[in-house]
Symmetry: C3
Subunit: 139 residues, 3 copies
Amino acid sequence: MKSYRKELWFNIPKRRGFINITPQVEGALHDSGVREGLVLVNAMHITASVFINDDESGLHQDYDRWLEELAPHAPVSKYLHNRTGEDNGDAHLKRQIMGREVVVAITEGKLDFGPWEQIFYGEFDGGRRKRVLVKIIGE
Amino acid sequence: MKSYRKELWFNIPKRRGFINITPQVEGALHDSGVREGLVLVNAMHITASVFINDDESGLHQDYDRWLEELAPHAPVSKYLHNRTGEDNGDAHLKRQIMGREVVVAITEGKLDFGPWEQIFYGEFDGGRRKRVLVKIIGE
Amino acid sequence: MKSYRKELWFNIPKRRGFINITPQVEGALHDSGVREGLVLVNAMHITASVFINDDESGLHQDYDRWLEELAPHAPVSKYLHNRTGEDNGDAHLKRQIMGREVVVAITEGKLDFGPWEQIFYGEFDGGRRKRVLVKIIGE
């Protein structure tokens, strides 16, 4: 069994944003040499997500508006978590909706995807350097 | 390490619906010959989910009503995504609540489940043929 | 390829609660002897979650309040599922928001975590003994 590990670093200047990280994951898969197995891609921070959906900017705006409806940023006093001095209570909730991680099948050396599947990093508390972990196991 | 791959195809005539796919996943596991490992089951489409919960029709109606409250289908003009000509903006949101994938342990050749765990395909934009991927790795 | 399996048992006296289970998962990882691989940690019950976030009590109260807003326990007659004689319809919905499982990378014999990542058991229908499965594969 082979294993391979890579960290991807991001710094989203705004509070929230989505980035298509499929090319970086494909690069890691190529470097790993794994032909059959699984790749885990997860946010290493708890106010960010990794998820799979469509690379369509209207949809991303829909997600952003919807997450703000379900877990508004303001008033920051709404969240007990913010008594710690943070203002990111909402980001911890948004991240649970969008998820921490994806697991993707590797078949014949490629991400085994349907026609529209793309991997995104979702940031809900930006303005700082944060990481995604890519871990590949297989043969 | 063994690996095994199978696609399951579905065509839900209504817009939304849930199907218990546990027997098909068990069939794939049997065919794989894997005794110890992991099985990944994921929707290959981005307006559908694979999730684990109870096979109880009242609960499934509760899910359907709740998802409509959280991300209503109409008015379709509510979603920027629908400016692409689609009317499935809501389906991309519902899928994030219910999830893309499950990973299940394989122990002694069986799905290592608690007493009520069953695997479901959740369709949020039906009326077309769509796929689920089953990928098994182990020994 | 090595594999290892362990069940963790919990009995949360209240209806809802969160427990940090990171030490138990680390103990299982140590016992497994796996240095490189993946660990799956999942609730074996369908009204409970396993998720990764921050070990901060204010945040946990925020989660609890938020989940009650999104899927209130009462009135129990709101859920068709409760016609089966249960009163836990809400718990099946809350569990979908927080998720069934996490998959964590194992690198050099340790959980490959960012600075604040901790694993939690989330109970939404307590007062009974329930299980979490830890399944480890790797080398």
